[in-house]
């Protein structure tokens, strides 16, 4: 299981966000300073590398918030109390 904090660190690193950019699990991907077609590839890689989960491009297109990404990966892979709505 991965903590939310660790997940946010990985997202920040993998999407190459500005170190000063504040993100939390309800941050919208569309609001990030960098979110383009390459970012979608980074999210697919992240899901495969850290969770062994394969996500289709069409699934990535439906993402809204970081929370929605965690739900797509599977809430059971995270500390539930921090992911549950």
């Amino acid at each position: 299981m991965m903590t939310t904090d660790r997940f946010l660190v990985i997202i920040r690193e993998d999407l190459e966000l500005d170190p000063n950019e504040f993100i939390h699990i309800d941050t919208e991907f569309a609001s990030l300073s960098v979110y383009d077609s390459m970012s979608k590839l980074f999210l697919i890689t992240l899901a495969d590398e850290h969770f062994d989960v394969t996500l289709e491009a069409s699934q990535i297109d439906t993402l809204t918030t970081i929370r929605s990404f965690m739900e797509l990966i599977g809430v059971e892979k995270f500390e539930l109390e921090t992911v549950a709505k």
Partner: protein
């Protein structure tokens, strides 16, 4: 009868399209990311009146500086940019190159897995003594399939052609193959219109994706993330199968050449198969992804730069449109 790669050469069109050139046409192009993530600084683009066949002729003429064309007894041409629906481009190539007439010639339609498939066919032709010296040509002009405002694909693909002579050998230097196909992924990389299923239309509807890439059904469409998924699902497995089939290990190999799709994908695949950086080739900054030509271009560059030498065992892995994949091991 065994077989080996005797000699190889490649030709790239003279016109280059740098990232700066492309950004001048499509301002949204991120030059920094194109270089750092895709690993591409420029690609070569065929002229309007220059076809894959023209590139093939030039690549073959280069290879014939090292091999007598009169000895060629079979031509195999891999392209998805033929001059005509019919006749077969390889037949025209036979004439353009003034090869003997008592030889076989055929085209086959594959993309990024094409070179390894061509090696498999050449090996089969030689082992069954149907041929002795096979000219395997890969030639592609994907630039002609792309919409002018398709930023993603125009930044990835470049044109080019290669010519490789595979000859009979006293010892086995082209080893066992692993081949794979999954046609359910046909829509992941496709030019929808222009064949018999859907004719090319005069005023196709333009579609713009969420990141601003423009295409029509007359042009190439690639769902990059899904092609990426296909590779990470199938290629590490194919590598493992190929190593087992050839009774070898990654450690025992001298070098590894994958289809040069893009740097990001290659780096992730390298990590997944746990190959050391020192023996895993990644270089497409001057050519972009030249489809079926990336592996023979890499082979030739590695020979010239002494990254591989005579006697080396090299793993070759191609994957892409189809979806299709192929892996083998060769001794240089």
């Amino acid at each position: 009868m065994y077989s080996k790669i005797a000699t190889t050469a490649y030709y790239l069109p003279t016109t280059t399209l740098t990232n700066q050139d492309l950004q001048a046409e499509i301002p949204a192009l991120d030059i920094e990311k194109t270089e750092s993530k895709l690993g591409i600084k420029q690609r070569h683009i065929s002229a309007v009146d220059e076809t894959a066949l023209d590139l093939a002729v030039k690549a073959a003429e280069k290879v014939f500086t090292n091999f007598d064309r009169k000895e060629i007894d079979f031509v195999i041409l891999c392209t998805q940019s033929p001059d005509y629906f019919l006749p077969t481009t390889a037949c025209i190539l036979q004439d353009r190159l003034q090869l003997c007439k008592d030889i076989g010639a055929l085209d086959y339609n594959l993309g990024c897995s094409g070179f390894v498939y061509g090696l498999a066919m050449a090996k089969g032709l030689i082992h069954t003594q149907i041929a002795t010296n096979v000219l395997l040509v890969t030639a592609e002009t994907y630039s002609k399939h792309l919409h002018p405002m398709d930023r993603s694909n125009r930044s990835i693909f470049g044109d080019g052609a290669t010519a490789t002579v595979i000859t009979a050998s006293e010892r086995n230097q082209i080893f066992e193959f692993v081949l794979g196909t999954d046609g359910s992924g046909k829509d992941k990389l496709i030019v929808p219109n222009g064949g018999m299923r859907h004719a090319k239309i005069a005023m196709p509807e333009t579609t713009v994706d969420a990141t601003g890439n423009v295409t029509t059904a007359n042009h190439l469409k690639m769902i990059g993330p899904d092609v990426f998924n296909f590779t990470i699902k199938h290629i590490p497995k194919a590598v493992q199968q190929c190593l087992e089939k050839n009774n070898t290990t990654l450690e025992a190999l001298d070098f590894i050449i994958f289809h040069q799709a893009n740097k990001y994908m290659l780096e992730y695949l390298r990590k997944k198969i746990k190959a050391p950086e020192t023996k895993f080739y990644i270089h497409l900054e001057d050519t972009g992804n030249t489809v079926s030509s990336t592996i023979p271009i890499a082979l030739q560059d590695c020979l010239v730069n002494n990254r591989i030498k005579k006697g080396d065992k090299v793993l070759l892995v191609g994957f892409g449109v189809g979806l299709s994949w192929a892996a083998t091991m060769v001794e240089i």
